[in-house]
C-alpha cells in the first residue's frame, strides 16, 4: 500500500525525527488500521478526490431557478448573496455575490485582473485559464477577441461588460435561457448550465 501513498517520498525512511503532531497523526492512523476502521488506500482516495474536486455547480441550480421563477430571478439580480442563501448555497466567506444578466443586448463576463478571485462555493474550483495572466489581462483589453476564441460569437451590437472580481465582490453571470427548453424542469435546465457559462465565456445550448 505504501506505493500508492504519494505523500511519503522518502519511501518509509525518516531522515528526520517526526514532529509531535506528525507522530500523533501516524499513531491515530496506525491504531485505526489495526482495528480495520480505515485503510491507507481509502485515505489516499479521499484526499485526492477532494484535492481534485471541482465542487458542485451550485450556481447552476440558481440559474435554472431564475429561468423558471421570475420572482427568484429578481431577488437574484437584486441581492445574489441572499438569493443563493435561499437555495442553501452558503460558504461565501465575507464576499458579496453579484449576479449579472446576459440579454440580447448585453453580454457579461467575469475576470479577476489582480489575482484570481472566484466564487468557489457557487462555481466550484476555477479553471486553470481563469488564473492565467493572458486571460486576466486580455479579457479587459480585448474582451471580444477572447470571447471569440472561447467560441462566443457576439453580434457587434451587443455590449460587452467585463466585471472584475475582488476580495469583497464576486460575480456570476446569469446566462440567456436556451431556446427549445421551454418544457424543461429545473433539474433538466440546471444540467445545461456550465461553469463557463456562469463566468461568461460560453453560452448555454440544448444538447444536439
Amino acid at each position: 500500500m505504501s506505493d500508492t501513498h504519494d505523500h511519503d517520498h522518502d519511501g518509509g525512511h525518516h531522515p528526520r525525527p517526526l514532529s509531535p503532531i506528525e507522530a500523533r497523526v501516524r499513531a491515530v492512523e496506525s491504531l485505526l488500521l489495526e482495528k480495520g476502521l480505515v485503510s491507507s488506500d481509502a485515505i489516499d482516495r479521499v484526499v485526492s478526490a477532494y484535492e481534485k474536486d471541482i465542487g458542485p455547480l451550485n450556481g447552476a441550480r440558481a440559474v435554472a431557478r431564475a429561468w423558471r421563477d421570475p420572482q427568484f430571478k429578481k431577488r437574484l439580480l437584486d441581492d445574489a448573496t441572499a438569493a443563493l442563501r435561499e437555495l442553501g448555497i452558503g460558504g461565501l466567506q465575507g464576499e458579496h455575490m453579484i449576479a449579472v444578466e446576459n440579454t440580447s443586448k448585453v453580454h457579461n463576463v467575469v475576470v479577476c485582473t489582480l489575482c484570481s478571485c472566484y466564487p468557489w462555493p457557487v462555481l466550484g474550483l476555477p479553471p486553470a485559464w481563469y488564473k492565467s495572466a493572458p486571460y486576466r489581462s486580455r479579457m479587459v483589453k480585448e474582451p471580444r477577441a477572447v470571447l471569440d476564441e472561447f467560441g462566443v460569437k457576439l453580434d457587434p451590437s451587443v455590449e460587452v461588460r467585463v466585471w472584475d472580481s475582488s476580495a469583497e465582490i464576486r460575480y456570476m453571470v446569469l446566462p440567456i435561457r436556451p431556446k427549445g427548453g421551454e418544457g424543461f424542469g429545473e433539474e433538466e435546465l440546471a444540467k445545461l448550465v456550465t461553469r463557463d457559462s456562469m463566468i461568461g465565456v460560453a453560452t448555454v445550448a440544448l444538447p444536439r
Binding site: 525525527p17 500523533r24 497523526v25 496506525s30
Partner: protein
C-alpha cells in the same frame, strides 16, 4: 456530493482554502483530513458529530501566532477527531500517546 461535508464547516471551522482549493502545508494535515472524511464516509461516525467537536476544538484552541493557519486548523481538526474516537470507545487516549511516542522516537517506523 463530496463537498457538502465541507460546505457544512463554516466560519472559523471552515477548511483552509486558497481559491477554492484545499490548502495543506504538510502531509500530516492531508492525512488528518483524509482520516476524518474517510471514517465519516464509512459510517464510523456522523459528519455532524465530527463537525460539533471541530467547532468546540476551534473555540477552545488558543491562538498560536507561530503556526500557519492551516497548521493551527489541522491541529484542531486532529484534536476533534481524537476526542470523538475516544468518546466512541474506538481509541484510547493512552494508546495514542504511547504509539505517538514510538513513532516520534523511531521505535516504530511503518510506512503507510
Amino acid at each position: 456530493m463530496a463537498d457538502s461535508k465541507l460546505d457544512r464547516l463554516t466560519g472559523a471551522a471552515a477548511v483552509p482554502r486558497k481559491n477554492g482549493e484545499l490548502v495543506f502545508d504538510a502531509p500530516w494535515q492531508s492525512r488528518a483530513f483524509g482520516l476524518a472524511v474517510g471514517l465519516a464516509e464509512r459510517g464510523v461516525f456522523d459528519w455532524e458529530e465530527f463537525r460539533s467537536r471541530l467547532i468546540a476544538a476551534v473555540r477552545e484552541s488558543g491562538a498560536d501566532p507561530g503556526a500557519s493557519p492551516a497548521t493551527l486548523y489541522y491541529q484542531q481538526w486532529l484534536s476533534a477527531l481524537e476526542a470523538l474516537l475516544c468518546e466512541k470507545g474506538l481509541l484510547e487516549a493512552r494508546d495514542v500517546a504511547t504509539r505517538a511516542s514510538q513513532f516520534a522516537s523511531g521505535e516504530r517506523d511503518e510506512a503507510f
